[in-house]
Subunit: 323 residues, 2 copies
């Protein structure tokens, strides 16, 4: 009773034989010759160690064991058909799972895409990982996730990127701040005397700000490090100092906070999807990117719209083709 070499094919053949009740007919049906089928049947019989059919009335009828095997084969073939279905669903990106990792600032913007996507693809499970830039970089190194969202991406050596949304950085102050009501934009230099509340030095916002100031030959004066955007907002509102923040993180009309009109601002950065070239994207992840490309217009305000995802998809597909 050695099933080792029992193949799907063999089962197909056997099922055909029992169905048609004839070796020759099965052969015709399967576009094989009669001896071929005879031999397969015999091989199966040997494997099972039991006669499966008897010749009767111009054909072949199963023994009890044969009937039992027939049932088993049907079940197994059915199971594989199921699997095939699942597989094609997976391939189509309708089912399955993928993971996406966000640097924490992005958690305010990504749900706009993920929400509708989940709605449209209820069978896809998404694992979202949120953390600070450090943590995300570590995950990226290890390639723990399928898609990463950064605004200031790490090396793109082995990765592809696509901007999908503008992320303007502005300086905010308490609502009573004098510059808030200036008739013309004020210069940044005029603000550097004040204290700035900043995220930790690894953060992208911080790096961009430093770079931007350096370009102008300036640097920060008094600073204060605060670990979360939330805390910074509160701090600014209560007069602790100024801060450079993504416009997204200050919903319009946030009480006690105001955007200061500063020359040269906003700094234009972008949210982008980053994916590894090495890693083969799950179909579900691809499906998400396709969805993003198509539906971005409906999910974000027009002033923040910036859709490069199409290019990314093109690159992925050509990568796949020539792998």
């Amino acid at each position: 009773m050695n099933f080792r070499h029992l193949t799907y094919r063999l089962m197909q053949v056997y099922v055909a034989v029992i169905r048609t009740g004839s070796v020759s007919q099965a052969a015709r049906q399967l576009h094989l010759t009669q001896p071929t089928v005879s031999q397969q049947l015999r091989r199966l019989q040997d494997a099972v160690g039991e006669p499966l059919v008897e010749m009767r009335q111009g054909g072949v009828v199963p023994t009890e064991a044969g009937r039992e095997l027939y049932r088993a084969c049907q079940d197994v073939i059915g199971r594989f058909d199921d699997f095939r279905d699942h597989l094609s669903a997976l391939r189509g990106g309708e089912r399955g799972r993928f993971s996406i990792a966000l640097v924490s600032t992005a958690q305010y913007v990504l749900p706009r895409l993920l929400g509708p996507f989940s709605q449209a693809h209820p069978q896809v499970e998404v694992d979202v990982h949120i953390g600070n830039r450090q943590q995300m970089l570590a995950r990226f190194e290890r390639q723990d996730d399928d898609i990463y969202v950064f605004s200031h991406p790490p090396s793109l050596e082995h990765a592809l990127a696509a901007r999908f949304m503008r992320n303007p950085l502005v300086i905010v102050g308490p609502s009573g701040h004098p510059a808030a009501h200036a008739t013309a934009p004020v210069s940044i230099a005029s603000l550097l005397g004040e204290r700035f509340l900043l995220r930790e030095s690894g953060s992208a916002t911080r790096m961009l700000f430093d770079g931007w100031l350096q370009e102008r030959g300036l640097s920060l004066g008094a600073t204060m490090h605060i670990a979360s955007n939330e805390a910074i907002r509160v701090g600014v509102a209560s007069g602790l100092g100024l801060a450079l923040l993504s416009e997204h993180v200050l919903p319009k009309g946030y009480p006690g906070l105001v955007k200061l009109p500063v020359e040269g601002l906003p700094i234009q950065s972008h949210w982008q999807f980053i994916i590894s070239r090495e890693r083969r994207l799950p179909h579900a992840a691809l499906s998400f990117l396709r969805f993003a490309e198509q539906n971005l217009e409906d999910c974000v305000e027009p002033e923040w719209l910036h859709n490069d995802v199409g290019g990314l998809l093109g690159q992925i597909l050509s990568d796949e083709a020539g792998n």
Copy 2:
């Protein structure tokens, strides 16, 4: 997505890989080398047309498609295990089906064995075919059934036989018949003046009777052919004539019928099981024969007991061994 060559073995290997989460460990578990398993895995991957695993943290973790395949493999392997179980039940003769054909006279005696057997093996289906000798011979020629019960067997050229019960043939007459109360057995010659009611000329009883008379240089006088034993009983009771009948078909105390004490009677014939040498017996049929051998004592009255079934079983087994 070509599953043709997907074997049971391949699934076993795959399952081991996913279970252990490691190619090498799976290899050890299966007593294979690591490259072997690697290659099988790759083959499977090619067949499915989709990556199934990714390397991670010193091992291998399934992709979504891999997980799906894993489930499928488990189900399939489980289904085969079931089949194996069924098969061994079949082999043990606990389950399954066989058919047995009786010449109609035997229908009075066989239930004594079949009843208890079915009791003991409720999972075995038995098809019982009953008919006259002609019909049974035709079935025997075509080998329609697994076991035949004859009292006067046809050629044993390609068959094996075992007596399992005595079948004494006696002459019966109406209860008022003079010979019934004779002090000593009467001679058959003295009865031949009377009319005899007989079964059709092909019947075994008839053949035996003719032979028996011939041995003694005698032959029948007036006869009357009647198609059923039942009708013969009625006829004899109502004084139409005498008859040679199996003792079994006249239950003790059958009203109006009496066994006549005749010299040289009863003719000793036997019920026997006949099976073909060509045909492989279903396990269930074997199981029935074994049952018969063991339980005959409990199923028939001691005076009719005659158990040669053991010898038959021996022959079958040695036939099987050297086929």
